[in-house]
Structures are given as C-alpha cells and as structure tokens.
Symmetry: C2
Subunit: 193 residues, 2 copies
DNA sequence: GTCTATAAGTAGATAGAC
DNA sequence: GTCTATCTACTTATAGAC
C-alpha cells in the first residue's frame, strides 16, 4: 500500500507530537529558550536533523514552547491531585505535618523542569508563572497570624532544600530528606495559637 | 595631540573594561549565556553595536563570561567580609541569631545575579558553583546533630524566601522580611543540645 | 508524515583604517 | 582604543518531492 508506514516513513497520528513535546520540555529546561535549537529536539525525537521536520507539527519555536509548557502543567496537576488524595487522613498531628511536607517536597521535584524554565524564561510564558504559583502561594485575607508565617517558613525551607540539593548534586549539606522533614516537622509544631 | 581621547575616541585604560564587565554580568544574569548577545553588551556600554568593538577587550564570549563572573565573585566576597565584621558581638542570643539570618538573607540578595546564572549556566562555569557554595555550605565532620539540621533548615528557608519573593515580585506570600526573620529566629532557638 | 534543498536572518569573530 | 566592513557558521523557517 502507498500508505504503509514502513514505506512512507510515517507514524501513528499524534504519537510523534507527544514525543516532540517531551523532548522539547527536556531541552528547554536544560538550556533555556534561546539556548534550545529545533535541531536538538529533532535529534532526540529521531527526526531528520537540521531540517524543518518539526515544523510539520508546530508552526514556530515559540508555539512549541507554549505547547510543551501547557502539557507539562496539565500532567503535573493530575499527578499532584492523585498524590494528595492518598494522604489527608492521618491521626497524629506531627506525622500528618511531616507527610504534608513530604508531599510538598515531592511537588517541588515534580515541578523541577518548569521551575528552571520559569527562572530563565519567566516573561516569555506568563501563564507559566501563574500555574506554578497556584501551587505554592497562599494568600491570607486580613492580618497574618504567626501560624501563617510558620507555614510560609516551612514552604520556603522545602523549596530551599530542594534547590540547594539540586545545586550541590546531593542532599543539601549531606542531610537526608527524611531527617530534614522530621526535624522541620518538629520545629514548626505544635501550633502556638 | 593625536593621542587626545576626544579626537581618537579612546578612553582611559581599563575603565571601559570595567563597564563592559558590569554590563555583561547584567545581561548574562537576565537572559543567560546563549540568550546574551555581544551586541547587547556593546549597546549598554555605548560601543558601536553589531560590530566586534568588544573583541578588543575580550577574545571571546566565553572569556567575557569568565571574567564577569570572576569580578562579581571577588566583589561580593569583599562586600560580605565587610558586613560580617560589623555584627558578631551582640549579647542577646535570640537577637544575635536574628541578625545572623538577616545577614544571610542580604547575602542571598547580593548573590542574586550569580545565583541566577548558576541555575542556568551551572556547567559552563564550574568555578561559579564552588564560589557560591563556599558561602552557603557547611560540612560537618562526623554525625549531624539536630542543631546542624536546624541551621540548614534556617539557611534553606532564607534561600527559599529570597527566591520566592523574587519570583512573586514582592515579599513571599506578603510576609515582610522583618516578620519572617523574627518568627524564624524564634522557631530555631533556643538550641536543644 | 518524513525527507531534501534552500532561503533569510542573526550572531560570533576578524582585518584594517583612523 | 574605537570604528567600518566583512566572513563564516548556525538557526529559524519554507517549498516541494516521496
């Protein structure tokens, strides 16, 4: 047949698109928007390099970035929602807090690629900033209680731990995750007010 | 005279070099290495744009990055050492701890440009990673005491607060710096062991 | 849906006049 | 020490055959 994939070099509809988006997200996170090249994405996907093979799927480099970010955000949202549902009902307050922190830390890990991308290309994808902050931000109406500040400190500590670990290429200052979480949970509770 | 700056277009030796390095650090921090263009640096310095005016001062873009980073690191080291000397001797432990945290937070602010650059171009300037971590890292020989972990938590929280504030474009979750520092200092002390 | 060929623009870098 | 002119390589993007 003339439409046989093996003879025409074509693949099932939509499958290549997904692989392009995954590879693109990788490259963008690694080297940023300007550092990324269409050729490199083509290379990782297995398309012909240096030619516009990719442009049959996306009209421009910017459109590729937008689509890759959108896909990543949607994917992470689903992942997080699923993980949340599994926790929630633990009796011991200290253990519940520790588990919550563990969740948040894993969320940071999940967001890693988007995180890096936001740092380098924040203004290029305004939607990106919002999407990320919906997860971390907690705006308290009215006056901030000490408890709100403590919660923010915990969140900042987890974000810092994640980032510093990433930079050092090992657990931050050699402190294992479990240890960090346990001490942090002990530090931030019990509530004072 | 034929050597008059006004007629030859030349400037005092070394002065242009400094202005180039400052402008380059700015651009690199803003858009990363690949995003930065020699032309943009020339524009900010006031040199002819689009031509290799800059190459009379630095042999390559990479050399420019290296020199800019080295200058920034040296400058920050001096600044920090000076700031440290001014604190140190406060009687009240709580207040001393709060002051220490304030110092660290300000250090993070100072390191901001290098910080961003390391996140985006970490592998391109290996020296950069080392230089930054000399300031934050604290490797404890032997077993980690709870106090060491608490100190790391404080450092991580300050780093996270700084970064999140940067991203949100305002104090993290609306919490003013003084409030954050005061609550954090209360949380991490007094030492338990 | 993938490939070859190629156009158009941009960025790093060099040579040489002033 | 700065400028004009220019080279080369790379990158985005398009046209069209298979």
């Amino acid at each position: 047949m003339t439409t046989d994939p093996a003879t025409t070099g074509s693949r099932p509809r939509g499958q290549t698109r997904e692989r392009i988006l995954e590879a693109a997200m990788e490259v963008f996170a690694e080297v940023g928007f300007s550092g990324a090249t269409i050729s490199e994405v083509e290379r990782r996907v297995g398309l012909a390099v240096g030619t516009g093979s990719l442009y049959r799927h996306f009209p421009s480099k910017q459109a590729l970035l937008d689509a890759a970010v959108e896909r990543e955000v949607a994917s992470l949202r689903a992942e997080m929602a699923q993980a949340r549902a599994a926790v929630a009902e633990v009796a011991d307050p200290l253990e519940r807090r520790r588990l919550g922190y563990e969740q948040s830390l894993h969320d940071f890990r999940r967001f890693d690629r988007l995180f890096r991308l936001m740092l380098t290309e924040g203004e290029r994808v305004p939607e990106l900033r919002q999407a990320i902050w919906a997860a971390v931000q907690r705006d308290v109406p009215g006056a901030l209680g000490d408890r709100d500040v403590v919660d923010a400190i915990a969140m900042a500590a987890l974000g810092g731990y994640h980032l510093f670990s990433l930079m050092q290429g090992r657990p931050f200052n050699g402190i294992p995750e479990e240890r960090f979480l346990a001490v942090l949970a002990g530090l931030t509770g019990p509530p004072e007010n």
